[in-house]
Chain length 221, copies 2
């Protein structure tokens, strides 16, 4: 049995009035899902056993499913999927470089924490999309994020090694800063961010979920 | 319109009496598909544009579909999928290290040529599996290998650069040696390889298909 972080209660993350228009939302999500896929792809490549590769491969596939679901919605909305992803390219590539991780355990922590945070965030924003699209996106985003396999592999590595645990705790704390930043930028409208006051309660919920994910690994957030 | 290498005529590749028993075949294919997936995952990660990432992502997903299809057949046969992959781990990891490629164009060439050769080879062997399984495997292996997107991206890189073309031609010739080797090893039975005489016609067909793939890129095999 693998312990598993409880998801946040998305309903309590009140961001719906800050949701971008659909094409902006979908283009960003499509590119984000590629980035999360690439991270899991690296985790597959570095995995030491066929079993770990296979489990992580299934999680990577879920990210491709989200990517393709977002592209399909863009086409349905009459938008050019590639043009819709383009504006999000640089910011996410920069985020990805900053959060790559140096070795397999760090890559796993990156996958676990950033996928969790950013898909919770994207699900909360989906509540602000026009009616049938919003529900379709919430269904798409209820994908298995591979948390069970990531947690199992990480605990196997961490439990016998307090030294690794302490290094990964530092890594987890560093990741959360970059992750909050890339999420906040998604709320920019006409070059202006909403006030901290407006977004603070939502981010407090997202960070609480991050802390619970760290707890599941036995790491201090 | 993207030019595309014609597949080999699988019926002419006569290897059916050399096909390993089902669990051996499926375990090898399951692990091979992971390796091909990892290579495409690297190609996605190194891709310079969202469009290239997205197209290569779809090809990567097909390799995961083959991997999961093989796992499903292993479970159906009552075998442990992880145990079935285990014996193929070292040889394929070594193959993968030797064929990684140093930069994006080399990675693309690796994906294009090794996926083509090894899936042609696996399809030919599927003809020797017991009846309904063999057909299911041939259907599974008729997956889109991403050749169209790989060829389009490679031609875009090669056409304006004779220097790159000549480097990639050398790379393609080097790959074929390692690829033939890893394929031939799959024919070993009780530590003994079949004679060159027995396998030469089949490998001649597989190499001819390789040469056609190089031709499509304008490279000399």
């Amino acid at each position: 049995m693998t312990p598993r972080a409880d998801g946040v209660e998305i309903a309590r993350i009140d961001l719906a009035d800050l949701t971008p228009e659909p094409v902006g939302y979908l283009g960003r999500l499509a590119y984000l899902a590629l980035v999360l896929f690439e991270n899991l792809g690296r985790a597959v490549a570095e995995a030491p056993t066929p079993a770990a590769k296979s489990g992580l491969g299934a999680a990577a596939e879920e990210m491709l499913r989200i990517h393709q679901g977002a592209l399909e919605e863009l086409r349905r909305a009459g938008a050019d999927p590639v043009a819709a992803m383009e504006p999000h390219h640089d910011a996410f590539d920069d985020f990805q470089r900053r959060t790559r991780g140096e070795d397999w355990p760090e890559i796993l922590v990156t996958c676990y924490l950033t996928t969790g945070f950013l898909l919770d965030f994207s699900t909360a924003l989906a509540a602000g999309l026009p009616a049938p699209l919003g529900e379709r996106m919430q269904t798409l985003l209820s994908a298995d994020r591979g948390e069970a396999v990531l947690v199992a592999l990480l605990r196997e590595a961490i439990d016998p090694s307090p030294r690794l645990a302490s290094r990964l705790a530092v890594w987890g704390r560093r990741l959360i800063g970059d992750t909050i930043l890339v999420a906040r930028n998604a709320l920019e409208r006409d070059g202006v961010l909403p006030t901290e006051e407006r977004t603070e309660p939502a981010f407090a919920e997202l960070v609480a979920a991050h802390t619970r994910r760290m707890d599941v690994l036995g790491l201090t957030a």
